[in-house]
Amino acid sequence: MSAPAVVPPRFRRPPHSRIHTEKWAWLFMRASGALLIVLIFTHLFVNLMTGNGISAIDFGFVAGKWANPLWKWWDAAMLVLAMIHGTNGMRLLVNDYARTRWVRRTLKSALAAAFTLVVVLGSLVIFTFDPCPEGAAATDLNAAVCASITHTATTSEAP
């Protein structure tokens, strides 16, 4: 007998659902993975490799980045994609290792709760961020960002 031919892998998890959920999940893992490489590698490079890296990260640094809507949306996209990808990945582990229906259900509920909490919290933080909160020590703030904000505020006041 000749050696068995290597058959290209086909997706093989038990089909629980009617609408090919697992097929879409499989595809999503690959599509989001490809996007996350760009999102995460840029994130790591800008935050840890440029300037003074980790030493330069503080409130003012965040204010500087989020003054630009591009970085807000960058971080939001990373948050949502990584959370869906990661949570779905954890779901695959639960399917593989959790033996009883009760354990499976409990762990999946915990995953769903963690997912909702982190995505909601993270999005709120990004989009309600206040770079110059009242009462904060000026030394903790990003002077340039706050100056440009008071500047726009005063100019828009003068009619």
């Binding site: 690959r30 993975g33 490489i37 790591l44 840890l48 993270g122 933080v125 904060a136 903790d140």
Partner: protein, 124 residues
């Protein structure tokens, strides 16, 4: 894999799979923590600066290096998985691609580690 009777059975593929799983889980839990620490910017600048200051100590500098190592491995190996799934040639050369993953990982870490550890331990 000449002579290999299976793609798994403790061959390279299995260890790459174990590493992919482990790094995925580690990065997932870090992400939960990381969103929470970043959320402190909404509490107060002092609170954020204080907690982010913890990331700058030498011990955490090493933990971060481990996390960056994990995500870079997971990302590169993820590309290998994707190409093996969609590309016949890659499917036939999985082991060669596994080497490519490790070589690219070493190159990336060689670029990252000196700089990051310099910031953490060099005090600049």
């Amino acid at each position: 894999m000449p002579g290999g009777s299976s793609l798994y059975k403790s061959g390279t593929g299995m260890w790459m799979w174990v590493a992919h799983r482990t790094t995925g889980v580690a990065v997932f839990f870090f992400l939960l923590i990381h969103v929470t620490d970043t959320a402190l910017v909404r509490v107060s600048p002092e609170a954020y600066n204080q907690v982010i200051g913890l990331y700058k100590n030498p011990f955490m500098g090493l933990v971060e290096s481990g996390l960056v190592a994990a995500i870079i491995f997971h990302a590169l190996n993820g590309l290998r998985i994707i190409s093996v799934d969609v590309w016949e040639w890659a499917n036939r050369h999985q082991n060669r691609l596994a080497w490519a993953v490790w070589i690219l990982w070493i190159i990336a870490m060689a670029g990252f580690l000196p700089r990051h550890l310099g910031h953490v331990f060099g005090g600049e």
